[in-house]
Symmetry: C2
Amino acid sequence: MPVTINDIAKAANVSPSTVSRTIANNPRISEKTRERIFKLMKEMNYHPNMIARSLANKSTKIIGVIVTGSAEKAFQHPFFPEILSGIASGAYKSGYKILISSVNSAQEEKKAVSEYAMSGITSGIVLLASRVRNTSADELRQMDFPFVVVGRPENECDVNWVDNDNVRVGHDLTRHFLENGRREVAFLGASPEFTVTSDRLEGYKKALTENDIPVRDELIVNGKFVDDTGYGLMKELLDRGIRPDGVIACDDLLAFGAIRCLQEKGFRVPEDIAVAGVNNVPLDEYFDPPLTSVDVNAFSLGAKAFDLLITNMTSEHRSIDRAIVPARLIVRKSTV
Amino acid sequence: MPVTINDIAKAANVSPSTVSRTIANNPRISEKTRERIFKLMKEMNYHPNMIARSLANKSTKIIGVIVTGSAEKAFQHPFFPEILSGIASGAYKSGYKILISSVNSAQEEKKAVSEYAMSGITSGIVLLASRVRNTSADELRQMDFPFVVVGRPENECDVNWVDNDNVRVGHDLTRHFLENGRREVAFLGASPEFTVTSDRLEGYKKALTENDIPVRDELIVNGKFVDDTGYGLMKELLDRGIRPDGVIACDDLLAFGAIRCLQEKGFRVPEDIAVAGVNNVPLDEYFDPPLTSVDVNAFSLGAKAFDLLITNMTSEHRSIDRAIVPARLIVRKSTV
DNA sequence: CTGAAAGCGCTTACAG
DNA sequence: CTGAAAGCGCTTACAG
């Protein structure tokens, strides 16, 4: 049986109220009793019961992080741990703990969200979900429960979110290809379900148009953020008889697969076909050839997300906030 | 104000006890009232307050996961997310949530541990720490608080732990080198602070000895699990005039750095010097040359850790459990 | 500066 | 089958 506030009170010959106030650093406690009580707490190895405290306060020092994707897969992407680190570092500084959970379907997401939000276990939520349409967000908004989503949602005006400027990411990458004389640039991994990819696609199109290059639909291939389809998507493109001189993949893992496919078919990268990815995973520089990519600053995405969340949780005034984290093109040998 | 059990009770014209029993699926509730109450709960959008429930039960459905290493760094290793996935998948099935926190120092670890254990917020702990000496473990054991550590600790007889057979990992790798005619095999990244690496080193020595090859201390280099020292450690070795014909790195990231160093100096891998790592990170196969490694089955490590923890939390009988997760040598071109 | 009392939302013997 | 009551460990007006 752990020692409680009452045990301390008895030992100190004061009321539980006084002990509670001492813990809370209430100024109306005399220096004498304060010292005596602190001493006893040390001696008796007292630790406040957070659960009881939370119940009395009707609030906890816990935030929920919900990851979209199956438990087996969701944490796998190199991208995720960095975001989590960012969130954790902010949380740590403010004394918050992180409750984490991953979901497979929109339905599971909804369940997780309501568990976190309605059960009082959590006082704010970070949604690591970049679906275009996010119904959990709607629900949270209606409850007026503090939350922020990482990845710009469709209904961006109604929710707090943090993201890169993904149109710009796509634009910068494409322009980089064009500046290096590429004209037939394929785009791998556009997935209309995710704003990330559709935004990047938009940037790609914009850059082409600005340079008077027609957008050719046959150069654009849908996909998902899974490694082995990089190979598959590339193969699909080649099998259709398409021969681009550049390939922009929405993710480094896709790019790795694509390059492997190209090399197997006897193409040289970058001489015949330049390839770039996004996310700047640690091993880009060890790859052969080292992969041009975009550093999306995942750590900052996470840190910013936590900042927005805290603001939202503590501020008197309602507001819809957003944060755009700068991304940076990292040119390596795969494109030049 | 969220709706409570009392609101439901009033609406249903029963006592809160009855509602509570209904939620708990207590068989002594008549079918009629049960249905009526469930209907009302739906209608009124009732969600149980977990905090209150936990306080009454003196137990939560939350387990704590403590990661050693700074918040900025700890989550970065490809190894970590997989373990976390394993834990999460087990937790998800049993309805547990995961509270995660990362610590920098032994002192912070101690603080986190006592917060989790003493504050009643958590009902079990997974320590993702492979330090030889783990003082938090001692403390938890004294409190008789359920926990399991991932990575065999020094005091292995006193705690629940899960790990690979790392002596065997080192042994298998070394034997693989010997079988391919290597005789001067260097060992990179032994760090006496971690049982993982010292165990692997032991396996390495054992394999050498079994094959009547003398263990040469100058072939063994200390290090840490950080990427850029792979290059540094290798360089250090070469600068000392050592010319091995094989290099075993305790981690793939170390191996990548080592290979880059070797290639810069004009050595061919594997022709001149074979190199292998451990952990089988996803990109091993894309590396040039593809990296021989050991799949440690991180997901299973996590899943098993959760299993042991649950057993420990729920079982009537005290016991010290451990689980050895099989590791598998994956031979790729970097060694043959 | 300190205490008695009520309350946070739930559970669970005890009684009927 | 159902209810009244006490309790989980803390907080916080209210009173003195």
